[in-house]
C-alpha cells in the first residue's frame, strides 16, 4: 500500500474514536458526530486511511438497511493490521520530540555559513 498517512490532529482524533472499538464498523456521519469534526474533513481522512491500507470500507448488508428502511451505508473498519498500525501511529504522534527544532523560542544552532 502507499505510505503512512500524515498524523494530523484530526486524523489522530478519528483514529482514537475508531480505536475505542477497533472491531466495530463506522459510517461517516457517525464519525462526524463522535469526533465533532466537519464532514468535509472526515471523508478525505477516511479516503487517505483507506489508501494507506489501514482501513477498508464496504457497503452495508442489504438485510440491515432494508429492515431499517433507509439507503445503504458505506461502512469503514480497520483492516487486518490497521488497528495495530493506527495505535502505533497515534502513540508515536504523542511522544515529545527528542530534539527541539529551531524556530520560535528555540535558539538557532550554529549553522555553517551563517556567520557574516
Amino acid at each position: 500500500m502507499s505510505r503512512n498517512p500524515r498524523m494530523t490532529l484530526q486524523t489522530q482524533l478519528v483514529l482514537r474514536v475508531m480505536l475505542d472499538k477497533p472491531d466495530a464498523h463506522y459510517y461517516g456521519l457517525q464519525l462526524r458526530e463522535e469526533t465533532g469534526l466537519p464532514g468535509g474533513t472526515i471523508y478525505p481522512i477516511m479516503a487517505r486511511l483507506e489508501q494507506a491500507g489501514w482501513v477498508t470500507s464496504s457497503w452495508e448488508d442489504p438485510a440491515e438497511h432494508v429492515t431499517e428502511g433507509r439507503p445503504r451505508r458505506h461502512y469503514y473498519r480497520f483492516a487486518d493490521k490497521g488497528a495495530e498500525q493506527a495505535r502505533d501511529a497515534v502513540a508515536r504522534a504523542y511522544r515529545p520530540r527528542k530534539q527541539p527544532r529551531p524556530g520560535f523560542g528555540v535558539p538557532w544552532p550554529d549553522l555553517p555559513g551563517m556567520s557574516p
Binding site: L29, R32, P38, G40, P44, R101, P102, L111
Partner: protein, 351 residues
C-alpha cells in the same frame, strides 16, 4: 418446421446446464423432447441478442431452469424454451403445433396472450387462483410468465433507468401476488426483494437541494469514484432530520471536496503536474511577450527552479528542516560565488 436445427457450439453448455437442473429435480424427465425444444428455440433465436449482449437463447433457457427447479413438467419446460419464438421470430404457432403438439403450442399461445390481457382481469387473477386460471386458460401459462419476469428482473440492470422502475413496479403490483397465488413462494420472494431493492435505490435520488448540491460536487472527483461518494453522502443526508442539518452537512462536504479530490487523484500527482505545466507555460509566454526568446527561456528556467524548490519543501515530511536548509543554502550563496541550487537535479541554476 422441416429445417435442420443447428446446434451452435457455445450452446451445448447451456443445454447441459439446463438438463442438469432438470435431472436434480425430476430424473424421469423426457430429456429428448426438451433437447429438441431447446434446439428449435436456439435455431429460431439464432443471431438475436439480449440487452446484456448475451445470445437471446440464454433467456428462455434461464426461464426453463427456474421452472425446472420448481419441479414443473416437461410440457411447461418445452413451452418455456419456446415462449418467445412466435413473437420475435418467423416461427408460427402452426409450426410449433406440428412439431411439439397441441399442449406445448397451446401453452406458448397462452403465454403470449397474457401480455394483451385486460388490466382488471389481471388484477383479479393476482389474488384469486380461479380467476388466474380463467384468465390464462392454464395455470402453467401463468407459471411460465412469472418465471419469465423473474429472469427479466434478475437482468434488469441492462435496461434504461426509467424502464427498470416501470418493470419493478409491475413486478411488485402483479407478479409477486400472482406468484404467491400460484404457490410459487420462493420465486415470489426473490421477485419482491429484487424489485423493491431497485425502487429503493431509485428513491435515493438527490431529492433535496442539499442532495443536488452534493451530487453536483462529485463532478470534481475522479470519474471512477463519483458514484460511490454520491451514494455514500446521499445515504448520510437521508438520515439527517432537518433541512438545516442537511444543508450544514452539504456545505461541509463542499468545503472539503478539494482535499478529497487531491487525495483521490493519487496523492495530487495529476493536479500538481497540471498546475505546474500551466504555470510554466504562463511564465514562458509572458517572457516571450516581454523580451523575446532569451528572456522567455531564462524565465522558464527560473520558474521551473522555483516550482521544483517549492515542491521539494512541501513534499517533505519535515518542512521546517527543509526550509531551514534552504535558507541556509541561500545565505551561503554570496560566499561561494555561484547561486546554488537546493537540489542537484533542479534545472535553472545557470540562469
Amino acid at each position: 418446421m422441416n429445417q435442420p436445427y443447428s446446434l451452435a457450439s457455445h450452446g451445448s453448455e447451456l443445454l447441459s446446464g439446463l438438463l442438469g437442473h432438470i435431472a436434480d429435480v425430476r430424473p424421469d424427465a423426457d430429456t429428448r423432447r426438451i433437447t429438441r425444444a431447446y434446439e428449435a428455440a436456439a435455431y429460431w433465436h439464432e443471431g438475436q441478442q439480449r440487452r446484456s449482449g448475451d445470445p437471446y437463447i440464454t433467456h428462455p433457457v434461464a426461464v426453463a431452469e427456474i421452472l425446472a427447479d420448481a419441479g414443473e413438467d416437461d410440457q411447461t419446460l418445452c413451452a418455456a424454451l419456446l415462449h418467445d419464438v412466435t413473437e420475435d421470430t418467423p416461427c408460427t404457432l402452426a409450426g410449433l403445433r406440428q412439431e411439439f403438439g397441441d399442449d406445448v403450442a397451446g401453452l406458448v399461445a397462452a403465454v403470449v396472450a397474457l401480455d394483451a390481457a385486460p388490466a382488471d382481469q389481471v388484477a383479479a387473477a393476482c389474488s384469486d387462483s380461479e380467476a388466474a386460471v380463467a384468465l390464462a386458460g392454464d395455470r402453467r401459462a401463468l407459471v411460465i410468465k412469472v418465471a419469465d419476469r423473474l429472469h427479466n428482473i434478475r437482468t434488469l440492470r441492462h435496461l434504461p433507468h426509467a424502464k427498470q422502475l416501470d418493470k419493478s413496479r409491475q413486478a411488485l403490483d402483479i407478479m409477486v401476488p400472482l406468484a404467491r397465488t400460484l404457490g410459487m413462494d420462493a420465486i415470489g420472494a426473490e421477485l419482491e426483494s429484487l424489485a423493491s431493492a431497485t425502487l429503493r435505490r431509485a428513491r435515493q435520488r438527490p431529492g433535496t437541494a442539499s442532495g443536488h448540491l452534493l451530487a453536483a460536487t462529485t463532478a470534481l472527483l475522479p470519474a471512477g469514484s463519483r458514484a460511490r461518494w454520491r451514494e455514500e453522502w446521499l445515504a448520510e443526508l437521508h438520515v439527517l432530520p432537518t433541512r438545516r442539518e442537511r444543508a450544514r452537512f452539504a456545505v461541509q462536504i463542499v468545503a472539503g471536496i478539494g482535499r478529497l479530490a487531491v487525495t483521490l487523484y493519487q496523492p495530487g500527482a495529476l493536479l500538481r503536474q497540471v498546475s505546474s505545466a500551466i504555470l510554466t507555460a504562463a511564465v514562458a509566454a509572458s517572457g516571450l511577450v516581454a523580451g523575446g526568446w532569451r528572456t522567455a527561456m531564462a524565465m522558464t528556467a527560473a520558474a521551473v527552479a522555483v516550482l521544483g524548490t517549492v515542491t521539494w519543501v512541501l513534499r517533505s515530511d519535515d518542512r521546517t528542516r527543509r526550509l531551514t536548509e534552504l535558507i541556509q543554502a541561500v545565505r551561503a550563496a554570496p560566499a561561494s560565488q555561484a547561486r546554488p541550487a537546493p537540489r542537484e537535479s533542479d534545472p535553472g541554476d545557470g540562469s
